[in-house]
Subunit: 127 residues, 2 copies
């Protein structure tokens, strides 16, 4: 994965927010919708952009698509470095902090770590 491609993914605010949230763990599209408060098409297109460039992975689970960062071993040194950097920078930014707060307020049954299972249970997701 080339460094430029990483930066191209990082140069849009929506994508930054998506990646930032994903650092907490896998999430489905409706999580992003409710946390970012952006329309579905916008979220979906940016996730697609990230996916084509290998910055996120996606797997279907029932009706839901679960997005995640690539497995640790699959992350290039450049990606690791930049994710860490983003993490640092986001820690002091109002928008990112608000996103994180909203994420934590989501249905507890849907906590990021267990998203795949919960979303796959067919019991309804978060939105």
């Amino acid at each position: 994965m080339k460094l430029i491609q990483i930066y191209q993914c990082l140069c849009d605010e929506t994508r930054l927010r998506l990646l930032h949230l994903l650092m907490q763990g896998p999430l489905c599209v409706c999580h992003f919708q409710s946390v970012l408060g952006e329309p579905q098409v916008k979220i979906s297109k940016h996730l697609g952009y990230l996916k084509t460039r290998g910055l996120v992975t996606a797997k279907r689970s029932g009706n839901w698509m679960i997005y995640a960062l690539p497995a640790d071993k699959a992350r290039s040194a450049e990606l690791k470095a930049n994710l860490a950097c983003l993490q640092d920078c986001a820690a002091e930014d109002a928008v990112f902090k608000r996103d994180l707060a909203r994420l934590k307020k989501l249905d507890l049954a849907c906590a990021p770590a267990q998203v795949a299972e919960v979303c796959g249970s067919g019991k309804g997701c978060c939105c």
Copy 2:
């Protein structure tokens, strides 16, 4: 300086190379031209782009324009973090390494640290 703007500056290869070289110290436009091997207009426009967004400073010295990264105190935390990150990533990339090698081969009288004086001497620069 907003994080997004930093990433927008970093998402072009030419600009990455410019910034990477500037981490060695101030440089004039003709240095960039000879190191990158790109046409003047391209270099100049990307430097302009970086300047408008505050990622580089410029001062005239005789016929030459000396570009530099902002003084350390003037760098936001985000900028510092990202420059460090770029430094790391560039260390293992062929293009960046080649640029660095070329920079070091330039006229020794024009070593980065003293660029401002030399370029200002009117004795001719590097190209």
